[in-house]
Amino acid sequence: MQVPVHRATAKVVALCGLSLIVAASSASARTVRRVSGKPVTITLSGWTSSPVEAQLLTKDIAGFSKVYPNIHVLYRPISGSGSTYETVLRTRFVAGNAPDVIYVNNGGESSTFMANHDLIPLNSYIKSSHFTIGDFYKSSLSLFEQGGKIYGIPKDQSPLALFYNTTMFAKAGIKHPPTTWAQLVTDAKLLTNPSKHIYGLINSVQEPRWAQFLSEAGGGVMNPAMTKFTLTSPASVRGYTYFVDLYKRGIATVPTTVGASWGGQAFGMGNAAMVLSGDWLNPFLKQTYPGIHYNTAVLPKGPVSNVSLTFPVAYGITRDSRNPAAAWKLISYLTNQQGMTRWMNLGLALPTRRSLVGLPYFKHHTYIHGLLAQLPHSLAWTFPPGFVQFSSTTMLNQTTLAIEGKESPLQALKNMQSGGEAILKSR
């Protein structure tokens, strides 16, 4: 459950007006059966990472309507907080009126939706329409595959990279962003000034903000097949301890320490010299804190690598869709070579197609370079079904205890390990 947590307020008045008008008609629209040649209506829902996203997607869909005049697309973003998107989606599945096309998240409930067959396999559509699936990064595509079936086409992804405040770096006489763990510590120390409420690094301590440190040390939360937890392997312990120590030394802190509710906000307020974030932070800073000067860089390298996490998002078709063929046409339009190029040129996220990393748009926007450079070194973040509560409470709580020094990093890892294994066994 990554990206919705970073969703921005996205209530574009025009869209809301639209949704009011279409609300009444949506129920009846759903029951229109596909008769060839007859116009059909399909609904597309997702969360919105920023107000612009909804606007831009609406525009893109308008282009689709010109190509397929017989397919009418209703774009109905689902608003709300954090895990609300998936909670809402779940209730829509229960009610049997889920939208035709949905954003499928990494992690969170997505694996459950796939396992429950709430999403339909897309393989036959991919085959019959000669959709070039080979171009996609294996790491992002595999998130939406189960048992050889593809349940979602990744539309974009956002790797986590290091955002740093260039003004603060210059003032402290630091010329380059840190490239190693040791440098990160030295720089953060230099930049921290608790009396002014300024810290080297500000991030909350949910699992997707520390799992990459485990990977950088050669460990990981789970084995690649996700059949067991590997939190207590020596490499994992090493990575986790490094992360926890940043907080224990006082050179990193959680956002609430400075009165912010997430790391990006602390960065915008000028309380954080560095923050680990995805590119959802860019539109937020542009809009809310335009005075901040910053840049991005790849994560500092650990003992083994500088691997980061990435959060791909896919389009999927729900089992409630009465017009899966039309829904596929929309997905294909939005995610084929041209579709993704259009989407990338809007600057909201990074591509899931390998062929698109060299787009001119990326060259012209320097603050994307760090994120782009991180892309080849990133792992798609996910969990098997049934781990929503575990990742949102147990892992967060244990890490909170660890950074507050109430529990040793090893003990925290052991507790998480046994908790996670117990869930795996009970399934």
Partner: protein
């Protein structure tokens, strides 16, 4: 004199949070984060009150809250008083049983039954629907009690006179008794209106789509998103509180009366 001082200090404590939200709502974002806190904004920035209507569909949320609260109020006025009248004034089989049933239902809090209620609403197709916001609150056990009490207090002779004149019991109820309990109806109306207007949990369960959100739900959802902007939030809070304050000031006597007689919020 000492009492008065204590009371005024207490009243101040009650007032400060509202005053602070007003103060914050008039500051630009950068100034709102000033620490130590500043009470009087350097410049009164009213733009938050304009922007909030553009950022979120606040008007729509107000409309939803209004529709739901009006519906709940009307339903309660009609159904509670009918049932209250029947329990107070009419003789019928099973009356005692029903009365005890209502008594038992007074003890069932909504929170404890939200799951079955949710499943039921889903089954009846009332999710994402105004009826879903209204029907679960359409009858309040406490409202039935309030009205029963009110009808019991009417002199019995009045009605027997009407009956002798040949009026049926529904006509007696509607034309004679209801006007006489107008004060209780007003109290019931207020209780019902506030119950719905301030409700958070029911809209949270029922309104999955943004266009059905009520003001409290909308504001909480807005707050939980990541663009935490306290001046916007406080502007929204102030605007939500204003209608409540107006209704409260006009009808305060009836609020007090309602609580004194029912003890329910």
């Amino acid at each position: 004199m000492l009492y008065l001082l204590v009371l005024f200090c207490g009243a101040l404590v009650m007032f400060i949070p509202f005053a602070w939200s007003l103060s914050t709502s008039l500051k630009p974002l950068s100034q709102s984060l000033a620490y130590p806190p500043v009470w009087i904004p350097r410049v009164f920035d009213w733009s938050n009150y304009v922007k909030i209507w553009q950022i979120v569909p606040l008007a729509r949320w107000f409309l939803n809250s209004g529709i739901a609260a009006t519906g709940v109020t009307l339903c309660n006025l009609v159904f509670d008083s009918m049932a209250g009248y029947a329990l107070a004034r009419l003789q019928f089989r099973g009356k005692q049983f029903l009365f005890i049933g209502v008594l038992a239902m007074l003890m069932v809090p909504f929170q404890a039954v939200m799951l079955p209620v949710y499943i039921l609403l889903r089954y009846l197709g009332l999710l994402d629907n105004y009826f879903g916001l209204i029907i679960p609150l359409a009858v309040q056990a406490v409202g039935v009690f309030l009205m029963r009490q009110a009808f019991l207090n009417l002199p019995a002779d009045l009605e027997s006179a009407a009956r002798i004149d040949g009026a049926g019991s529904f006509r007696t109820f509607w034309q004679l008794s209801v006007p006489l309990v107008a004060p209780s109806l007003l109290t019931l109306g207020l209780i019902s209106f506030m119950l719905s207007w301030n409700n958070f949990l029911l809209p949270l369960l029922v309104a999955n789509r943004e266009h059905l959100w009520t003001v409290p739900l909308g504001i909480v959802m807005f707050q939980q998103e990541y663009f935490v902007n306290w001046p916007y939030l406080m502007a929204a809070a102030v605007m939500t509180t204003i209608p409540v304050a107006v209704i409260f000031l006009i009808f305060q006597k009836w609020f007090v009366r309602g609580i004194a007689t029912t003890g329910m919020n």
